[in-house]
């Protein structure tokens, strides 16, 4: 599904070129749950942003379903954002002026879904995440974990194939973090491809595959131990 070849990302200053990513090769298949790990400044978020079409690589190839997505027009990018991928952020990034319900509904509006259908879809998700009672609250009135749940709900309401999560648990206490990871795992079990960036070893273990990034270079890419175990079984 995702195919990255020799991806470089660098910034030029007067006398030198600083690499954020260097010769990154990565292939992600449908249904995978990939955790990208690495210290601060290793280029994890940049890689995720490139995959999410929010940032462009300085060199290399990137294709989705064998179609190159470099040099896409603004309109085509918007189309991918609307129909193909969803984002979750460390700081939740909910729209503060909107209620839980409206936040979740927003992507559907941009997608042009009819009002009746939107109602049904949002209601379904609220139900699934046990948040029906909170639908008219504003983000500030929720706990961090609940806000992130809303973030996930908003990311998946458009039924994307790919879910990109940038440190989804970074701002959360561990119990709330676990709840979020369980939710992601469940989504993955239903067939959604997920790529997450994380600092946390324990939460990285939720992924089926763990990629280690250091100074912009992939140092390790292996299947998860537990995953191996289940394969061996």
């Amino acid at each position: 599904m995702i195919y990255l070849k020799n991806i470089d990302k660098y910034y030029d200053s007067k006398f030198q070129r600083t690499f954020v990513l260097k010769a990154v090769n990565l292939e992600v298949k449908e249904g995978e749950f990939v955790s990208i790990m690495g210290p601060s400044g290793s280029g994890k978020s940049t890689l995720l942003n490139i995959i999410g079409l929010l940032d462009a690589p300085s060199a290399g190839e990137y294709s989705l379903y064998e179609k190159s997505v470099l040099d896409l027009k603004e309109k085509a990018k918007v189309d991918y954002h609307r129909n193909f991928m969803g984002f979750i952020f460390q700081a939740y990034h909910l729209i503060e002026e909107m209620t839980v319900y409206e936040n979740i509904e927003t992507p559907l509006i941009y997608k042009g879904v009819k009002s009746k259908d939107r109602q049904a879809m949002v209601a379904d998700l609220l139900d699934r995440f046990n948040m029906v009672a909170k639908k008219d609250l504003f983000p500030q009135q929720l706990s961090g974990g609940q806000q992130q749940l809303v973030g996930i709900a908003r990311a998946i309401i458009g039924k994307p194939k790919l879910l990109l999560a940038d440190e989804p648990t970074g701002n959360l206490q561990s119990t709330q973090g676990e709840m979020i990871m369980e939710t992601l795992k469940a989504l993955n079990d239903e067939g959604m491809t997920i790529i997450q960036v994380t600092h946390n070893e324990k939460f990285a273990e939720y992924g089926k595959r763990i990629i280690r990034l250091e100074d912009g270079i992939i140092r390790g890419d292996k299947m998860n131990k537990t995953e191996f175990a289940s394969v061996k079984d």
């Binding site: 929010l54 952020f89 909910l94 729209i95 503060e96 992507p107």
Partner: protein
Amino acid sequence: MFRNYLKSALRFLKRNKLFAGINILGLSLALAATFIILLFVINELSYNNGYKNRKQIYRVLVNYVDYSGTEAGTDDEAPYALSKSIKDEFSQVKYVARVRNMKGFQIKLKDEFIPIRDAVGSDSQIFKIFDIPVDGDQDNIHDNPNSIVLSRKQAQKFFPDENPVGKEIVALVNDKEEVFLVKGVFDDIRVNSTLQADCFINSTLPLERLNKKFKDENVETNWRSNYWITWLLLNKNADVASLDKQLRELEKKVYGEKDRYDFSVQNLTEVYLNSQEINSSASQGSMKNIRIFSAIALLIIIVAAFNYIILSTAVSTGRAKEIGIRKTNGASIQSIREQLLNESVVLAMLALPIALLLAWQGKPYAEDLFQTKLLIINSNIAIYAVVYMSLTLLIGLASGLYTSSILSKLKVISILKNSAQTGKRKSRVRFALIVVQLVIFCSFISSTLIIRSQYQYALEKDPGYRNKDILFIDMGKSSPDSKAFINSIKSYPNVISAGGAVEALPRLGSLPYNYEHFQDKSKKVSVEILGVDYDFIETMGIHLLEGRSFSREFSSDPEHSFIINEAAVKALGITEPIGKPIDNGKIIGVVKDFNVHSLHSNIPPLMFVVSDAFVLQVAIHHKPGTLKNLLPLIEAEWKKIAPDQPFNFKTVEEYNKEIYTAEKNLSVIISIFTLFSLLIASLGLFGLTLFITTSRTKEIGVKKVLGSSGSTIIYSFLKENFIPVFIASALSVPITWYFMNKWLSNFSYKIPISLWFFAVAFIVAIAVVGATVFFHSWKASRINPVEALRYE
């Protein structure tokens, strides 16, 4: 989609109350001011626009030609007989009607006579020309001298809830009671129309009155008695040039080769706004005022729209995150732009009702200011609504356009990384907008100062005659015995002297005659004549340079002696003027030049003629401070000579002030709008500094930790904000210079535009900006660094 935008816009405003409040307040103030101005402008421009045939309706003008062949003025009143000639001989004219208001016309209601303001003597065709709907027999309305057609309003007054057609009323006309038959009822004429009528009566009635007043003139056939406003309806596609030719032939026929009057026609669309040069009792507008006011409105709107842009780009950091999120959720640049545009339109629309309320409250003050009634005219309501709505929309769109195009282009990734360069403290565009606002503000201030100074100068300049301790008494039209009046006044000890003239000084009218140049006989020089009595020159303190003044001791003085001014000596090219023959007499004296007219015009060549019979204004020179005691005495004398005439008096200062009313009004209007622009712009600046100080809390905290003192921080804020003031006041100099020079060119005597006008504007701007910025920066300078740094 729209609901979603609206919701987030309203909620954003709710969360940013200060920003929204400042913006809405600024917009409302600007809109209210503009609405009032537009009310005036729309009313002025819509004048006479209600007539469907207006392009074909014309008014006959009469141009007077004096003996020397130069045009001496234009009237809108023509001879009675003209209308018949036009009807008979001019094939291009479809309908013609002559109109004259009937003075003293009263209708009896119960036992009381009620005066009718606009009782119009006319012909039936007036209804066809102006297409006025009439109930009743339209064609023969004026067959009988005693028929009348009432307006709906009058009909309702005299015949409540019944049909008056065919009924009789009693009216007082030409001081006689007569019975009139109501022949019809016409739809009320709009207020914004040159033709005004409460009822129409037969044109023979005012004719009778005129004949009575001027016993020897047969007004109906006399081609030199011009009393009738004559309206024409031309055929479609009529040729006005050929009409002019026909008028020339008519003039030749009725006046002979050496004609005294030139007829011309003026289209109805020109009548209201383009008749400054025409002597007319009809109300008139001024295109110049419309232009000045529209320009002021435009400037105010610019200030307000810039405010919006400055503020909303500043607070955009708050919005940037939301925009980033929306983009990752699939919003396109287009939809973000729409959203932001919607938001500014919503904001502007929120200001609309407040602006209407403010405008409504401010209307009475504006009426004082503009010296006109600001009517809300029913037939214009649709226009007001459309103009106001579209103006509000336009401001919303215009101010949202820039903001939205900036914000919608922000890179999502940088926003989400919190490193976005949004809400930059240093934005070049915002800087430019602030400078433009300040330029407008500074130009307003210096213009006000210049206009005020010129006004003061006009009042205080030594005109060359006594400009205090003089009282002017208006003798009225019936010219009572002025000689006896003056003589009795002179006997009071507090009266130094008294004398009369045709007009008070500075004089408003002029009566020029042409005289031959003394050296070059072929050259004609126009000299103004001023009729005075024996004491006027002395009373007014006009300085006699050589020769003598008029004196009763010389019996030849009234017809054969003349006093001229220096300008006349020069213009006529006279050397040794005393004793030189002129007209049918000789020059007996020369006076020093003085301002005969207002400061708008140069001192003309002038010739005094003496006679006790010219006196229409009496000037009384009294001892300083005695006016209060003197007035009742003079009034008592007045009652003796003219018991039934009103006693009208003015001091020379009051008289002078009246002449410069237009200048005074303009200075007041501009100062009011200076205040407005000040208010709006400082609101914006207040919001902007508030935003900047809060966004710089961290920086200030760090600076303080590093040892910066509070005053250095205040200083750095002030410095930053004074730079645009410097630039703006420099830029305002040439702009103000240009426009004020243009305005001052209306005056022959004017003040120089000196630098202090601009210096004052600069100081005021610095003071305003300083005060606005100081408050926030002082607060910022007192930030506890620990608090500031814990912030994130």
